[in-house]
Amino acid sequence: MLKIQDLHVEVDGKPILKGINLDIEAGQVHAIMGPNGSGKSTLAYVLAGREGYEVTKGSVLYKGQDLMDMTPELRAAEGVFLGFQYPVAIPGVSNIYFLKAALNALRKHRGEEPLDAIDFMKLSKKKAALVQLPDELTKRSVNDGFSGGEKKRNEIYQMAMLEPSLAVLDETDSGLDIDALKVVAQGVNGLRGPDRAMLVITHYQRLLDYIVPDVVHVLINGQIVRTGDKNLAKRLEKEGYSEVRDAAQL
C-alpha cells in the first residue's frame, strides 16, 4: 500500500527526515513513536502533501503510484487521510458542509454520483454517533471553539465519513481523556480492514492497547532506528528512548 524508500526531506534548507524506509501492507497498522522534534509530523505532512517540505532524495509509492507528484486533494481522492496533530479552526466554513464538498469530490473522482442532502445527513448522523461527536459540533464552523478533545474526535468523525485507504493519524490521542480515547480507538478499529492501512503516530503506548499495531517503529532525529512488534512500545514506555538511542549511537 505505502512504500517509502530512503526519504530525505528538508524544511527551509534544514534536513528533517534523513533516509526513512517504511513498508506498509494493506490490512496493517503501523505505529510510529519517537521523541519531540524527531520528525513524526513532518513525515505525516509530507505524505499529505503540505507545501514547504522539499524531498531531496528518495521516493514514496502509494498503491504503486508516485505520491509526491500529486496535489493534496488528489491524494485525498486516492484515499489518503491525515488526522492532524493540531487541527486548524476555520471560522465561517461549516464542518458538515465542507465535509459534504470533500466527500462529493472524492466520490466524483471515483466516478460515483454525489450523495444527496438526505443520504449525506444520514451518513453523518451515523458516523458522528460512532465517535460520540454531538450533532451540534458537526454543524459548527470547522474546529471553531472546539476543545482539544472535540477537535480530535472531529478528525475521527471526518475520517469515518471519508473512509480512506491509508489513514495517517498524528497524535490523535493527545489531549484525550480515557473515555474519549476508547471512543476514538473504536472509530479507528471500525475502519480497519484488509484493504486499508494505518500509520498511527503517538507518544503513548496506552493508545496501542486499544489500537493494536502490527509493527512499531521508533523515529529519532529523522531516522527510523528500531522496528519491532507491539512489545517494543511497551518497552519504550518503561525505559524511555535512551536505550534505543545508545544502540543506534545517536
Binding site: 493534496p72 466554513v93 465542507f98 465535509l99 464538498a101 470533500a102 473522482h109
Partner: protein, 405 residues
C-alpha cells in the same frame, strides 16, 4: 430623451435659485457658494486623497431628468413614502430643518443639495414598528451620453419607530454618475436597519448622514460588488445618550475597480456605542480604500467605540489603503481599532485540500467565509439571503458554495 446640455459638474451649478420654499433656496444657495469657494475635491483634499475624482471633475455631464429613486416594495401600513418634489410643493414646512441637518455640506454632498430635483421621503411615525423591509432602487442613468443623477432620500423615524430600508444601486453604464445623499433622522428609541447594495457599473458617489437621538439604534450593512469608481461615506451623529450604531461593510473588488468606503462616527453624547466592521476582498488591479474616523467629544463619557477593517489581498497588483482612526477627548471610554491586510490562511487552505476539496474551490470557500460573516449580521432573513446571493454571484464556485451552505 432630449439632447441635454452638457457641462462640467461645477459649471452646472446655477448662480441663483428661484423655485421651491425659501428655506430650500437658502440651503441650495449656501451649497452653491461653498462649491464656488472650495470647488470639488482633488488629490490635495485630505479626505479625498485616495479617490481619483480628477477625470470626473473635469468631465461634462448632462443632468438626468426624472430618474429619481423608485420604491420597489409595498409601503407597509403606517408608513408614508412621498416624492420630495411633491412635498416641497404642497407642504414644504414639513421638511424645514430636515435637509442638510448635519450642517453645511461640502464637495459632492453640496453638489447634491444644489442640484437634486426629486427624491423620496420615508416617514415612519412614532411607535410604528415595521417588520417588512422598505426597498428602494436607484437605477443609474442609462443614456449613451454621460449623465449625472442626484438621488436624494430622507428617512424620518419617530420615537420608538422601527424600520428596515434596503437600497440597491444598480444599472448605470460606464461613465454615468450617480451622486446620492441619504439622510436619516432617528428619534428616541427608534431603530433602523439599513442595507445598501452597490452593484452599478457606473460612477457612484454616495453619502449617508444619520442623526440619532437617545437610545436609538442604527445598523448599516453595505455590500459593494465592485465599481469603476465608488466612493461611499457614512456619518453617524450620536447626539442622544445611549444611542448606538453598527456600521458593517463587505466589498469585493477586481479588474480596475476603485472602491472607497469612509465612515465617520461622532460620539457627542455619553453612553453611546459604536462598532464598525468592514471586510474586503481585493483582487486584480483594483484599489480599495477604508477610512474610518471615530470622534469622541469631551462630554461623551462612557463611550464604547470599536472599529475594525480586515482585507484579503488576492493579487500582487491590487492596492489597499486602510486607515481606521480615533480622536478621543473624553477620558472614560473603551475604544479599539485595527486594520489588517493579508492573504488567505495557508493552514486553513491545506486542511480543506487534505480532506479532498479542490484548491480553487477551497480558496473560494475561504474567501466567501471571510465576507459572509458581515452579511450574517443582517437579522432579517430574506434580506440576508438576498445579500448572500449577491456575494455568491461574484465569487468563483458560487453555485457550488450555495450547494454546500
Amino acid at each position: 430623451m432630449t439632447e441635454a446640455n452638457r457641462q462640467t459638474l461645477i459649471a452646472s451649478v446655477p448662480d441663483s435659485f428661484d423655485t421651491g420654499p425659501d428655506w430650500l433656496r437658502t440651503l441650495r444657495a449656501r451649497a452653491a457658494k461653498t462649491l464656488r469657494q472650495q470647488g470639488l475635491p482633488s488629490k490635495r483634499t485630505e479626505a479625498w486623497r485616495f479617490t481619483p475624482v480628477r477625470s470626473l471633475v473635469n468631465s461634462e455631464f448632462a443632468q438626468n431628468d426624472g430618474e429619481g429613486p423608485s420604491l420597489v416594495s409595498a409601503v407597509p401600513a403606517g408608513v408614508t413614502v412621498r416624492g420630495l418634489t411633491e412635498v416641497l410643493q404642497s407642504q414644504p414646512e414639513l421638511l424645514r430643518g430636515r435637509l442638510d441637518f448635519g450642517g453645511a455640506p461640502t464637495h459632492f454632498a453640496a453638489l447634491n443639495t444644489a442640484m437634486f430635483r426629486d427624491g423620496l421621503w420615508i416617514d415612519v411615525p412614532a411607535g410604528t414598528i415595521v417588520e417588512a423591509p422598505i426597498e428602494i432602487s436607484h437605477v443609474g442613468p442609462s443614456s449613451s451620453e454621460p449623465r449625472v443623477a442626484y438621488p436624494r432620500v430622507l428617512v424620518t423615524a419617530g420615537e420608538g419607530a422601527e424600520l428596515t430600508l434596503i437600497e440597491t444601486y444598480a444599472g448605470g453604464r460606464a461613465g454615468q454618475l450617480s451622486n446620492s445623499v441619504v439622510e436619516a433622522e432617528l428619534g428616541r428609541n427608534a431603530k433602523m436597519s439599513h442595507v445598501r447594495v452597490h452593484e452599478s457599473a457606473g460612477l457612484q458617489i454616495g453619502r449617508v448622514d444619520v442623526r440619532q437621538d437617545a437610545d436609538s439604534a442604527y445598523r448599516s450593512t453595505v455590500v459593494t460588488l465592485g465599481g469603476a469608481l465608488l466612493r461611499f461615506d457614512v456619518r453617524c451623529l450620536l447626539q442622544g445618550k445611549g444611542a448606538e450604531c453598527q456600521l458593517d461593510g463587505a466589498y469585493l473588488t477586481d479588474g480596475d475597480d476603485h472602491v472607497d468606503h469612509h465612515t465617520l462616527v461622532e460620539h457627542e453624547a455619553p453612553e453611546c456605542r459604536s462598532a464598525q466592521t468592514y471586510r474586503g476582498i481585493v483582487s486584480g488591479k483594483s484599489t480599495a480604500v477604508f477610512d474610518g474616523i471615530v470622534i469622541v467629544h469631551r462630554d461623551a463619557q462612557k463611550t464604547e467605540a470599536h472599529q475594525e477593517n480586515r482585507n484579503l489581498l488576492l493579487s500582487d497588483t491590487a492596492t489597499i489603503h486602510t486607515k481606521p482612526h480615533l480622536e478621543i477627548d473624553a477620558d472614560d471610554v473603551i475604544c479599539s481599532h485595527g486594520a489588517t491586510v493579508g492573504a488567505l490562511d495557508q493552514d486553513q487552505l491545506f486542511y480543506l485540500r487534505a480532506r479532498g476539496v479542490p484548491e480553487d474551490f477551497a480558496l473560494a470557500m475561504l474567501t466567501y467565509a471571510f465576507v459572509e460573516s458581515i452579511v450574517d449580521r443582517v437579522s432579517h432573513e430574506p434580506t440576508r439571503s438576498r445579500m448572500r446571493e449577491a456575494l455568491l454571484s461574484r465569487i468563483p464556485y458560487g453555485d457550488e458554495i450555495r450547494e454546500v451552505t
